[in-house]
Every structure is written in structure tokens, then in C-alpha cells.
Subunit: 661 residues, 2 copies
């Protein structure tokens, strides 16, 4: 028999959260809690105790008790207060004193002779004494003496069952044969913006005077417009020099005319690459000015990281071995056979010189971090090696734990999950194409109630420069409103590509296409920000509601409620701490009025069946007095296709006057 002590009788298994056997960390933001569950049990009938251990990286373990739920399932909880990495694990042991006390209760109730059992208890308290010091040790020793003393059997029995004795004894258990869970699981803790934020995407070159190429200074002059809608993040497509070779013309035409602006994603020219600025946008100084002006208005600037090169990129000359070469000596352009994208050279992550390459790519991000950029939207991360992301994001977060990475991957589900596991703070989702009630309920139930919620944070986009979904094409303005409110309330993080969104631009390049006609990706646009049909004010109301209602700051409380009409969807989010409850009802049919009966899960939103409550529409400002779970709604898309209700409870004041808070 091996030398190890095999007498550790407690089993700890089925730990949640735990991603892929602990291979990947879970994610939280500062101030959030981590609720841990596990199966904890031993053979036989002895009582078991367990603690949850957690520590900040480099710190000491902190213990908190775990409590049994049902069927050998236990739970515990801890809060993460600082950015960086935390660890957690579990320890459980057979608890002799707890077992003895539990049995004593039964023995005393049955009127048995407990003379010998009291001596057993005294011995267990002696052992606790040996593990204690100071006052508790003295106290435990005194109790042990009393248990075996010459007091009456009755008074000693009484002492044996006292709560305070159990409480002190429980602090000094015998953990020599405790089982420590084999893994130390990791939490990556981000700042709250990784969980909650409203993004606005714009092309700076379209914000100048009519007929002129817009600049960072022009954007800075319009920051009040963006800020007045209540956005937190201003996201800019690539700001780097645009290549000339094979430059694309308007509507992605293969040949560009002189003066055509080209696609910002064709990165690199004689004027520089990923660490340079497209000269027509301004200077580095202008850029820094824009960043500081945005910050002054409570907004951060997010940059686009697109690891690909135009044929004119300096890397192509300086590091030809960072690209794949064709047998004829030319560099391999991007392809999706039979389609060819000759304006783009993909980077070869398997290059023999991969170490230098990966270091350089990482340095692109740290360069911009040096320019006070702490949010990156990463273009097509699923076409770059997963191990690169895990390494690069891990390294960067060691030095800059406040960095946020949004993965722009619209691809197969497991690939998207893998990017989130590898370290991306947020992920684009299929929201853009989930339009029916069944689709939305199924998808968001998966994202918010399964293990996925511990590693993938959704960021919901009703449109992007690449995607004008059919629902918006055919649904018009009511569709834009519905999708806006769905994105902003289903997702604590969401974003729009504007001004195309607030101006309800919904003309596709051709029928069946999800590309915009005259897409801003290939040309400079002029936007009429004064359009009276603009959704500007509505967006401002939606974002104000988001800020003011903590229920909308997280996705974990999302719950769908049945409605007897397939076109109406209803869901709630709640904030435990404040009691804040948001209830959304949306008409998914942009063409017709629909009505139906909700069946609210009152328990989920913390209400009694008997008490009236008010629902206050934060968009239309209407108020309705409801009672119980069954309530009627009717939504006309031509007026407003959604209710964004805040639930208000009845409060009785000192002067005996009821109102709704």
C-alpha cells in the first residue's frame, strides 16, 4: 500500500461553476459574487462540514462556510472586489462534534441514558480545546469539564445541546483528514464595463463638412450628439492608413476610382501600419484630443483590432515570412474559394517566426493602451489561432487588468464559445438574427442560465456595418425600435452602428443581401442628424432607463414569462440588492397591433399574488395598476411596439397614504 493517507472520506465533486474541468477561468466584474455549488458527502451517516476557500492572486486563502441545500448539494459564496485573478476551491471533512451533537438530540428526545455519551462529548471538546487558544480554549475546556463533571445528568444534557457550545466548537474542527478539492479554479475579474455598457460605432470620415473627409476633430465636435444619447463606448473602425493595392470602390466594387476612400479594414500603406493613423483622419495628437474629449463626457473610445494587411502594409516588406507564400513566389491573399480578396493578406499564425510575429501583434494592442485605449473590438478573431488569443489577452491583462476585449466572431457556436473561454471579455452573438419569440427565448435561456453565462458575456448588436438584417429591412421604424429595446434590455452590453441605426437606414445593396446599399465601409457618407424621424430621443430614453435601473446592469436574472400570443414576448430582469425590477413586453410584429395575456412568474420578480403593483412605462410614461400574475397588454407598432416597464411597489407612508415607489 502506498504511503499516502487514504482515510479522507469526504467526496467533493460536481463543482459549479467550473469550465471544462477547470481548464478555463470563469468571469466576473468587481463587486460581483461567485456562488459555488458542489456535491459534498461521505460514506455512512456522519455529519459533514465544508468551507469555500477563495483568494486573490498572491493573497491568502479566505474561508467561508458552505451550507447544505438538498440531496448532498452544498453552496457557498464570495465576492470579488478587485480586478485581476482570484482562485477558489473547497474543503470538506467528517465533523465528529456535529455528528455527536446531532445524535445527542435524538438520544435526549428518546429519554436514553446518555452518561457515556456525555463523556464522548467531553472528549471531543477536549480535542477542540487543543486546537483553540486564548478565551475560546478556556471556554471549551470549562464546558468539557462540566460535561464530565458531577452536575446532574439533566443539566449536563442541557449543556450538551446548547447552541453556543456548538458554535464555539464548530470553529475548531479536526481537519487532519479533510478532503481538499483537487483543483484551484480561476476567476478573471474585470471592471464593471466588461459587463454593462452601451456602444456606439461610427466612421469618423463621414463626420466632416459636406464633401470633405471627416477627421478626429470633426468627431470631437459631435461628441455631444453621441453623449446626449447616453452611450458609454465610442467604437471606431480601424483608423490606420488604408492600402492602395486592389483598393475596393463603392459597394465593394473591384476597381476603385481615384479619390475613393477604400475600406478601413485594408490596413497598411507606405504611411504605416497598425500603429499609425490614416493621415486624412488627423494626427496622433488629434486622436489623443478626441480620446480626452470623449472621456470628459463619460465615454471611452474603443479601437478595432484587425490582424490583416493590405499588400502595401510595411510588414509585407519587412517580414515576408509572416505571410503564406504561393509556389509562384507571390504572397497568398485572402480567399474563400472561389472568392478572392486580393486587397487583404492574412497573417500566417503558424509562421516559423511565430514568436516574433505574436510579440509584434501583441505590441499593437499595448501601443494603443499607451494612448489610453482600454477597450478593443477584435475583428474576426475566429480566423486567428485560439492559442494566440489565450496567450496575448492573458499577458496583456497581467499588466492592464482593466483592458476589455470584444470578439467580433459570427461563426459556429463552439468556435464563439472557445474565443470567450480563451479570454475575450465580451462576444458578439446571434442576437442579430434571432427575431421570433421561440428563437429569442431559446437562445437567451442558453446564454443566461447555463454554464455559458460564466465565460461568455453577450454584447448585442441590432445592426453592424456588415449586417443589415432582413427584419430591419422589412420592418421599418417599428422594427428598429423593437430591436433597440430588445438589445438594450436583453443585454447588459449592447451597441448600434450609427447614425445608420437612429436614422433607420434599411436599404440593402440588393434583395436578399444583408449589405447596406452604398455601404459606409467603402465610401464617405453624409448623415442628416437633424432628421425629425431620428430615434435619437428614444435611444436617449432607453439608455437613461438602463443607467437608472440596476436590474439592467447584468444578464443573470433574465427570466421569460409566458404570453398567449406568439408575437408578444415578455421578460423581466431583477436586481436583488435594490429590489429593482424591469419588465419588458415587445410586439415582434412590426406591422400589426397585437394583444395578449401575460402570465407573470411573480415569485421570480418578488411579488405577492394579492398585492396590487404598478408598472410604469419608461418610454411612453404610461402607468398601469396590475394585480396578480395574469395581466393584459396591447401594443400598436405604429405608436410604440414595446413597453419598458419599471415595476413600482405600493408603499405605505407614515401618514397612511399609499403610493408606488
Amino acid at each position: 500500500m502506498a504511503a499516502m493517507d487514504r482515510r479522507r472520506r469526504v467526496i467533493i465533486e460536481g463543482v459549479k461553476p467550473e469550465i471544462d474541468c477547470g481548464r478555463f477561468p470563469i468571469k466576473r466584474t468587481t463587486g460581483e459574487s461567485v456562488r459555488v455549488e458542489a456535491d459534498i458527502f461521505a460514506d455512512g451517516h456522519d455529519a459533514v462540514s465544508a468551507v469555500l476557500l477563495h483568494k486573490r492572486e498572491g493573497g491568502d486563502w479566505v474561508e467561508s462556510p458552505m451550507m447544505p441545500l438538498v440531496n448532498d448539494r452544498w453552496e457557498g459564496e464570495f465576492t470579488v472586489q478587485q480586478m485581476g485573478r482570484y482562485f477558489y476551491t473547497i474543503e470538506g471533512w467528517v465533523d465528529s462534534f456535529k455528528t455527536w451533537r446531532r445524535d445527542m438530540v435524538k438520544r435526549v428526545q428518546a429519554g436514553q441514558d446518555v452518561t457515556v455519551d456525555l463523556l464522548t462529548g467531553a472528549k471531543l471538546l477536549d480535542e477542540c480545546t487543543g486546537r483553540a487558544t486564548g478565551d475560546p480554549a478556556a471556554q471549551l475546556a470549562q464546558w468539557a469539564g462540566e460535561l464530565r463533571g458531577d452536575g446532574s445528568l439533566e443539566s449536563r444534557s442541557e449543556l450538551s445541546l446548547r447552541e453556543d457550545v456548538a458554535a464555539v466548537a464548530s470553529l475548531y474542527p479536526d481537519r487532519r483528514l479533510a478532503t481538499r478539492y483537487a483543483k484551484e479554479l480561476v476567476v478573471v475579474v474585470d471592471r464593471p464595463k466588461a459587463r454593462f455598457g452601451a456602444w456606439y460605432e461610427l466612421f469618423p470620415r463621414s463626420w466632416g463638412e459636406p464633401g470633405k473627409h471627416g477627421t478626429f476633430r470633426d468627431v470631437a465636435a459631435h461628441l455631444d450628439y453621441v453623449a446626449s444619447m447616453g452611450f458609454d463606448v465610442l467604437y471606431l473602425p480601424p483608423i490606420h492608413p488604408i492600402g492602395d493595392a486592389f483598393r475596393k470602390g463603392p459597394n465593394n466594387s473591384v476597381t476603385a476610382n481615384p479619390g475613393d476612400a477604400g475600406s478601413p479594414w485594408a490596413i497598411g500603406s507606405e504611411e504605416g501600419g497598425h500603429k499609425s493613423i490614416h493621415p486624412q483622419l488627423g494626427t496622433m495628437e488629434d486622436f489623443e484630443y478626441l480620446v480626452s474629449e470623449a472621456n470628459r463626457r463619460g465615454m471611452e473610445v474603443a479601437l478595432d483590432i484587425a490582424y490583416q494587411c493590405s499588400p502595401d502594409h510595411p510588414y509585407v516588406k519587412e517580414h515576408p515570412d509572416w505571410f503564406r507564400r504561393r509556389p509562384d513566389g507571390s504572397i497568398q491573399y485572402a480567399e474563400n474559394p472561389p472568392k478572392k480578396y486580393q486587397d487583404i493578406y492574412p497573417i500566417e499564425f503558424e509562421s516559423e517566426d511565430w514568436r516574433a510575429l505574436w510579440d509584434e501583434l501583441k505590441s499593437v494592442m499595448t501601443f494603443w493602451i499607451g494612448k489610453r485605449i482600454h477597450i478593443f473590438r477584435v475583428d474576426n478573431p475566429h480566423t486567428k489561432a485560439f492559442p494566440f488569443w489565450e496567450w496575448a489577452i492573458g499577458e496583456i491583462k497581467k499588466d492592464y487588468p482593466d483592458t476589455i476585449f470584444l470578439a467580433e466572431a459570427f461563426t459556429r457556436p463552439k468556435v464563439m464559445y472557445q474565443l470567450a473561454k480563451a479570454g475575450f471579455s465580451q462576444s458578439y452573438t446571434y442576437f442579430t438574427w434571432r427575431n421570433t419569440k421561440e428563437e429569442i427565448v431559446e437562445y437567451f435561456t442558453t446564454l443566461t442560465t447555463t454554464g455559458v453565462r460564466d465565460f461568455l458575456r453577450p454584447n448585442l448588436w441590432p445592426n453592424t456595418p456588415d449586417i443589415l438584417p432582413e427584419y430591419l429591412q422589412f420592418g421599418g421604424r417599428p422594427a428598429f425600435i423593437t430591436r433597440l429595446v430588445l438589445a438594450a434590455t436583453l443585454g447588459a452590453s449592447y451597441g448600434i452602428y450609427g447614425p445608420a441605426f437612429e436614422l433607420s437606414d434599411n436599404t440593402p445593396r440588393q434583395p436578399g443581401s444583408e449589405e447596406y446599399l452604398n455601404s459606409e465601409k467603402y465610401e464617405i457618407k453624409q448623415w442628416n442628424l437633424q432628421d425629425p424621424w431620428s430615434l435619437h430621443d428614444l435611444i436617449a430614453r432607453v439608455n437613461a432607463a438602463r443607467r437608472e435601473n440596476p436590474a439592467l446592469h447584468s444578464d443573470r436574472s433574465l427570466r421569460f414569462h409566458p404570453v398567449d400570443n406568439e408575437k408578444l414576448i415578455c421578460y423581466s430582469k431583477t436586481d436583488q440588492e435594490s429590489g429593482n425590477v424591469i419588465l419588458v413586453v415587445a410586439n415582434l410584429d412590426p406591422n400589426y397591433t397585437h394583444a395578449g395575456w401575460l402570465q407573470l412568474d411573480l415569485k421570480a420578480i418578488g411579488l405577492d399574488a394579492d398585492h396590487p403593483f404598478q408598472v410604469h412605462d419608461l418610454l411612453g410614461d404610461s402607468r398601469h395598476l396590475w394585480t396578480g400574475s395574469r395581466n393584459y397588454v396591447q401594443l400598436d407598432p405604429k405608436l410604440l411596439p414595446v413597453h419598458l416597464f419599471r415595476l413600482r411597489r405600493k408603499v405605505r407612508t407614515e401618514r397612511d397614504f399609499d403610493y408606488f415607489l
Copy 2:
């Protein structure tokens, strides 16, 4: 950056079967296959290839290709032929040649100029050549030459798409950057009896002449009776000397009279302990005679391992430190406060002398293995430390891989699962108390379709000496028949405690009790084996049907089919290889006739909707011609409450005459 090569782009995760992150082995029997699934994918659009690797302990890895299913899920399979331990894992890689060929198809279809692409293919074939030897190397080199040769573009394009080129190239992939799954998962391979067997439990002391204590020789004289019912395993409760101290009398009374037989589970007296035989049963020679006579009839003898001692057990004197001591110096008897079991001393698995204790306990089993016992039914394993079982079973199976361990644990589900994970070959289940259709469907769906099926093999008992379930108490003979057939067909392994079962003994000690009146556990019984109401013949028919129908030899194919009557349950088992299908329909109401319509899942049982088929009742010998999924059944419990149908398909003979096979 660390020195490791991070360019391994393939991800392998979500591997099934895999128990608790590979902490525990899966179970199979010789000849069974292991079907392995995993998520396998890489970034981007390159084609991926993967192999499943397996090896017998001490042997070399064997590779077999894995095939994609859907949504990045892949599958592979291997067969385990010998007892012992096998290992399996997965390797996947980005496959350049496969990617190139896939893209060539699209390029050629689109009529593109493939001049350079052919050169790329030639280069890839050159690389394959370098990894090949002999004829394949020469062949690959020749093809590479042709691809870059001066043949017409058309003929070279054709060559590039040839299946035989792809087939040979696929044998020599570049796996330098392959990803090997991080774990080597374990299979414990048992002999088929661990999966399929019918058990019969009897108390030898009741098989003697009237008024006399039965012996092994008496049992040997009745072996034909047991064998004629078709059982595979003859299981004997403990055969060791029974203690005198605190011996229990009939019906578990606290005081025994002189001559009372006592409980066989109160093990140990002056005459010996766990390696000795109760003198009244005979000698070791008699025991060995019984074993060989049973073997001659195709039956194995299973012994009971009950690690507990009567106060008279030799261990008590020789190893007082193997027991827990009370403060008054006495040894702690078994308790479930306020109940006391003073005739039983539990063994202290946490003893300071645990190494010697555990060795001795293990030696009990190897002692009986020396007497040609290879099946152990272990009494209350859940009151002994899990690590003991994992160690002891693991050690024994190293030397005796044919040993089978049945866990008699009726306790909380996770504890039962843990015993199975720790190494028990088979487990008692909750079947004994699952009586309604809903209960049976829910429980057996869990056991046979979830991950549980890979580590827990159910052994179903309608009764035991400890358990006379209420269903049998109130349901009479029809209830016995139904529960027999359910046990024998839901479970590839099942058992009965006889002759109490075949004689439908159903009188409880008192109302509300599950104990038998005048339980054989505490006294010698006389059984009238000639009782005309005996289920002997029916049991023989059921066990014959089990033997003859491979569908009943495993639980993995179990499938329930809807019936529009809550009292009727219907399920099938199928054997892929032979095409054998068994269909059971049971009336769960022992009192009334019930009828209903089945809705058969024809696909699950391998039938077309349009072709008639015959169902042949192997118990009542009736035959019914059915077509399609919807079929009528009616079962009168007073006649026979179950159909045990064998499905017979129509076969057309050479002489154009149809019959059902």
C-alpha cells in the same frame, strides 16, 4: 514567451464518455464497443482531421479515424476484447492536403485558372512523400511530378481531384502541430457476466430436512431446482460463524432463545470470522463441493462480503484498535440514534492502524477468490470509506480482472453513484420502489441514456430478504409476475430472493413494514417447492427468453414507447448486430384489466411503417400481426399481466412463401 510551441490550433473538448473529468474509468465488458464523441475544431476555415487512439494497458496505441457528425462534433469507436484496463484519447490536426483538395473542387467547378494551385498541391504531395516509404512514397512522388508536369491543365486538374490520390495522401498527414487531448481516459473491461446475469439468493440453512439445519450438501442436492429456472448466479448470504452475544431471535427480537439460528450478518464467533465457515453449514470441503456442483450446472456462487463483526469475532480480541472505543472502555456498537444494534460492531476505517486493517479486509476477498469465488455481493458498502473500495477493488482486479463486485447500497443517489465510480461492477438500484409508469420511465431513462450508464450497471431486485415492497404485499401473484418480468427485461442483470419470490410470500411483519413476517434472516424456514402456484415455470421461461434474445443482454438500447393508458408501460430493447428486438408491454395494475394503444417508435426498433410484422409472446406463446406504429393491447392480470414479445420480421423465401423469422 515560453519555449513551448503554441501553434497547435486544433481544440479538442467535450469528450464523451468521460466521468468527472477523467477521474474515474468507464466500464465495458469484453466484446463491447466504446463510442467516443468530441468537439474538434480549429480557427478559420482549414479542414481538420482527427483520430481516436486506444490501447490495452501495457500495449501500443492503435489509431482509428474519427468522422464529423454535425456542428463540430466528431465520433469514433473501438472495441475492447480483453479483460483489464484500456486507455483512449484523441488527436486532431489542421489538414493541409484535405483543405487544398476541398478548395480545388470549388476552384475547378468555378472554372478558375488553377495553374498555381496545382503547384501548391504538388508541394503538399512532396511533403507527404517525405513522410511515406516504399511504394506509397514512390506513388506520391509520381503524382507530385505529374501535378507540376507538362501535361494539359485539364488532365492535371483531374488528377488533383482523384479519390485515390486523396486516399494515399491522407495516410501521411503532417501531424507536427497536432493537438493531443490532455487526458488518457480509462476503460475497465469486465467479463460479460458483469453486464448480463440472473441471480438467485437463498439461505442454505433452510434447505435441509424438515427440522434440521440445512447444509451446503443440502443446497447441492437442490441445485437442479435452481438451475432449472435458468439462473446464472447463486448468491449466498454470509456463510461465516454467527456470534452469540446479543444474538437476535425470530422477527429481530432482542433476546434469542437457545437454538435460535441468529442473523448470518452478525459475523464471527469463537469458531472464526470472515474466512471461516459456520460449522452447521458444513466444512470448507463441503463448500468447495457446492461450488463445483454449481459450476457444473453453469452457475457461479456469489458470496456476501459484510465488513462488520459480532462482539464474538476474533478481530475484537486480536485487533481492538480496529473498532471505535467508547469513553467507558467498551467498544462502540452500531447505532442509528436512538436505535442501538448491540449485536454488531462496525469497523473503524479511520483507525490509526488502517493500513493493516485495510490489508486484512482485502485479504478476506482474496481468500475466497482462492476458493474459486469470483463474484461478491457487498453488504452496505456505503457505510465504509469510499477510498477503501477504490483501493481494494483496484488492487484485486489487477490480479483477478474477472472478479465482479455488486454494491448493496440503498441510499442517496450520489452515494450510490460514487460507489459505482469507485469500482463496483454492479449496483442495486431504486427499482424495488419504482412502480408507476412515470417513476419507471424517469428512472431508467436516467440510468440508460445519461452518463450514468458508463459507470453504473444496474442489478434489479423485485425483493430481497430485507425488502418486501408494498407493491408485492398488496398486488399478490400478478404483482410478482409483473415485477419479475420488469426486472428481467429492464435489467440485463437482475435477481430474486427465493424461494420467497417464486412462492409469492408477501406477508409483512406488520402493516407498514417492508420486513418479511418470520423473516429468514433470523430463523430457519421450510419452503414448499412443490407449491402448484409456484412461479418456477414462468421464471424458467423468462430466463430462457433472456438467454435466447441478445437484445436483453444489455441496457443501452432501452427505449420507452408511449401508451395512452397510465397503467400500461411499453418498452423495447434491440440488438444491432443480430437485429433481435424485444418488446415488453406490462399492466402495472395487478387488480384490473387494462387496454390501450401503443405508439411504437418504429425507427428505434428498425421497422418500416408499411410492413406488417409479428409480435410473438414468449411467455403466453400468442402471436399478433401488427402493422405500423399504432397497435392495440389488452392485459388481464388474472391471466398474464405482461407481454414479453419477440418481434419477428417477414421473410420472403426462395419459394416465394412469406414467414416470420
